[in-house]
Each structure stands twice: as structure tokens, then as C-alpha cells.
Subunit: 327 residues, 2 copies
Amino acid sequence: MSADELDTIARFFAPLATHPAARKLKDDLALLQTRGPHAITTDTIVEGVHFLPDDPIGTVAKKALRVNVSDLAAKGALPFGIFLNLSWPAARPAAQLAGFAEALGEDLKRFRSALMGGDTTSTPGPLTISITALGRPLRRRAPSREDAKPGDDVWVTGVIGDAYLGLCALKGELKTLSPRDHETLAARYRVPEPPIAFAAAVARLARASMDVSDGLLIDAGRMADASGLAIRIEAAAVPHSAAAQRWLAVPENASRQQRLLAGGDDYEILFTAEPERRAAVRRAAARAGVAVSRIGAVEKGAGLALVDAHGAPLPLGETGYRHKLGG
Amino acid sequence: MSADELDTIARFFAPLATHPAARKLKDDLALLQTRGPHAITTDTIVEGVHFLPDDPIGTVAKKALRVNVSDLAAKGALPFGIFLNLSWPAARPAAQLAGFAEALGEDLKRFRSALMGGDTTSTPGPLTISITALGRPLRRRAPSREDAKPGDDVWVTGVIGDAYLGLCALKGELKTLSPRDHETLAARYRVPEPPIAFAAAVARLARASMDVSDGLLIDAGRMADASGLAIRIEAAAVPHSAAAQRWLAVPENASRQQRLLAGGDDYEILFTAEPERRAAVRRAAARAGVAVSRIGAVEKGAGLALVDAHGAPLPLGETGYRHKLGG
């Protein structure tokens, strides 16, 4: 891109810089007056890896932001500012930049956050977007993934597997879906809905917590490893949407469900809590308008077990491929 | 990359997470106890755009960090922590990851900073590295690029054009260089040396300040625009290294010098200061062991002028292609 085109970008993005720390994006850094704890997280999404080349540019912008919001919400924090690294392919129409900025602006408003800075560069490769999000913990404590204790219940918000099915549908692999299910599931893949209304409850009630981004099974396995304990998940207790249940309603149900549990992009919250807190968790979820399901338990030992309704072990299927470095 | 390989990465990077905020990279976010002002900047480098595909992986790691250190130093701040977004090509040997982490670790030690978090993903495209750096301003004030005043001197640290020549040399475009000059200039392209020892002086003495990353002329033009003033640069006052001077020692010198002034990747500091501060600037530079040159002046009006020793205007040549969004 030429310097002129990039000055145009600055015009698109400057209106999103609604925080004084951003210096209206006119400078090379943000200067933030801070006090107290800050939560910081960062995530990259890559065209062809985390979104499809023909996904609408507005949903790409929202996904790039929301995967970070998800990390914060799962730790009981909410975002207030972001830094954007945009590597824009030479071959992608520059006209899409306006749509990207518009959608990002809508979502920043929704999540009460400002663009504080960033860097835009051209790339010979796929569209690559890194967002680093600054958040405020809602309580003094931000639950980590290593805080699970033996005897804890394992909970998950929302439903699992819709985004995976949405990706399969968009790739043309699910021919039997109704058009409406196709649309619903595709939207779940393209635009995650992290349960931010539950972030305060996580901060108050969760022992260990993390978001489900790479797949329920791999993320639960990571929580078990980080906590030095075992986690057992009851397959029948894992919640699925009506659309996913329709897809599951076939004879080979068991292996199909394992695909949903191994698939990524749920952006729900996986957390543990003491059994004494069951009623409190359910009350908090009801107040937040967020569904929660008790899907298993933390136990002494190591590793992850998936069991059927009779407690018999089920195969774990595939695992995800991404790894967080923290942050 | 498989989950296994990415767990290996975590092992490479975990030793760099020497700050408690990083939670040893075992969690999905950093939790930072803050107080007072923080400077935050972010920059992306892309294989084939900001470094060459066959640059040694260690110099790539250092460049990714140092372009951010440069932004901070130019604002009178020094880094203490970074977040790393690494998009690693499927085709690049995973063995290089150890070299990347080792070099990054060396540089983090050198710049007294810790890895606080990040995200690693696979990419079908070029190696793409975003680093977001947190810094402490050395004084209450961080000079912006829009603070120039009419009558200010314009200064630059170090020498200009070496990195541009290094890139040309590495692309095989400079056949007449001695092997030693080739090596020196290539190193300047691959591993910037931002003048961090001068950061405190910038905070104390500079009016407007920014780093020279896209090219002296385009960056000075941006400073002029941001300040709503004109900047005049005397071509003969712009400092060049001995290697660059040897390359300039040909009849077509004038157009050659303009290439040096338009070329990018200098990572020096461009700043303005009141003429009354000339002696103080020179003293501070001598104490810091950093070369400074007075290369022009800020004037009423608009835009950038490059002039010869007689004050006659010279053509401005090309400009760069990158744009910072701030931060």
C-alpha cells in the first residue's frame, strides 16, 4: 500500500481512538495513566487459519476483537482499550478497510473500549490481525487455569460445538443442514459471543477459569495439566444448541459429539467451583442471562477423561493446534 | 504446527517470562500491578517486507523487539515488558524457534525487559511478528511528534541511510561495496541500534520527537504536518557513516544522498529543541555516547523542504510506505 492509502486508514481508525491515551493515533505510542491491576491479553487471527478468506470483513474485525474479550471475560476482567496490528494483503481491496474499521468501531462501542494505537503494514501473505487488549479485573483476583482443586465441579457457559459446525458448513462439508441452521452456525463461527455478562461472576465464584478457544477437550486437558489434577467430563452433560442437536440426531451420534467437543472457536468460559457454590453459580448465571452447565468434576490424578452416562470412558478424539503463550 | 510442537515453543519462551505479571506464560493473560504513566507501543514486522526471508532468525527476533524499543526511546521511555504475537510459517523449520527465542532472550536481557505474554499461531503466509511493548516514561512528559515550535532546531541521532544501503547490499544491488562495508551495512539493516542511552535526554530536552523508521524525509514530513509547521532540512548537515560516505563519493552524489534520506529502517531519533538548548543537547549526547547532528530548523508554514548548502531546494525523492496508527 502507498503512504496515501495508509493515511486513509488513519482517517478510518482515528474516530475509534476515543481514549486520551491514544493521542488521537497521531503519535507513535499511547501514554496511559494507570493505577491498580491491569489484565493484558493478546491474540492473532490469520486468514485461512482462524477465519475464511471470504468471510465478510466486518465479521473478521469483530472476531479479532472478541477472541481477546473472551480471554479477559474468562478471567473476570473487561476490556477498556486495544492495540491493533493489521497486516493487510496487497491483493485485498483497500475498500474493505472502511468496512473493517466500521465493524471494529461498532464492537469497541459495544465492549466499551477504545482503540489506543496500532500498526498497519502491507503483507504478501494472508490478512493477519493481532489485537492486544487491556482490561480491568472486576475483582482483585483473576482466576488462572491452574487453580482447580480436587472435588471442584467443572462448568461451562453457553453451548459447545456450534462454531465448529459453522466452519464445517462454510467449507461445504455439511450438506444436510437446513438453510437456517447453516446461517446460525456460520454466524457462531464468524462472530463469537463471549459471555461478558458472566465475567463478574467468574471473578467472584470460579476457582480455575479459562476460555474455550481451541476446543473443550484440549482446553479442559490444559486446565487439568496446569492444575496438576485430573478432569472428568460427562459427554451427556455438555450442552449443545438446537441446531447442533439436530446434527447429532443420527445413529453415529457418539463420534459426532466428540467432534463437537474437539472443535474450536466456542469462546465460552470453562471454570471450576466448589460444590458448595452450585446454587450461587446458577443464580449468578440467571441474573447475567447466561446459560451454565455442570459438565464434570476435578479429581486427583492427571489428564482428561471423557465418560458416558454410565461412567465408561469414551475416546478423546482430536485435539486443537494452537497454543497461548499467556498474555 | 501440532500441539506438541507448540508445547515445545512454550518451553523455549517460558524462561523469558521473568516478570511475575507473566504468570510464567501458563495462563491466558498477564496481570500487571500498575502505578503511574505507562507508554505502550506496537509494531509488526513481516518477512519480505521488513526483513528478508534468509535473514538469520536471531536478527529477525532482535529487529522485531528493537523497532518497538526505538518508538519508546524516541519518546523518552524505556521498555520493561513485551507481548509477542508470532505467526510461524508451516514451511519454516521449527528448529529455528529455539534460535528465535534465544536471540529474543538476549535482547530482552539487554533492554531489561520480560516477555509477559503472547500468542503463537501457524500461518500459510510469511513469518509475521507483532510485538507490543510496555515502557516507563523517564520523565512525566513524553514528547509527541506534534510539539515542534517555529524556530526550533531539528536534530537527529546517529547516522542516516546505513540500513537502506544494507538492504540494497543484501539484495545484491550494490556490487562495488567492500566486503567489510557490505557486512557493516547489512548488520545495520538487520539489527537496528536504537539510541536508548539518549532516551532520558529526549525526555528532558526535546520539544517534538519521534523515531526515524520509514525514512528521514517522510518522518520529518510527518512531524511537520503533525505540528502544523514547516521543517527545512539541510542535506549537507545530515550525518552519514564512513561506509555510506564511500558509497556517496561519486559524481551523482546528490541523487544518491536523497536515496539515503528516503530509505527506511534507521531507527534513530528525530527531535526538535529550542536553539537555547544547543549546548545542553550536545553535552547530554556526549554523556550518553550518542552522536547528534543539527540538520535543520522548524519554520512557520507547512511541509518539508530539503535544501543544499546554499539554501536552494532539492527534490524530495521517494517516500516510505508504512503508517503508524499511534501506539
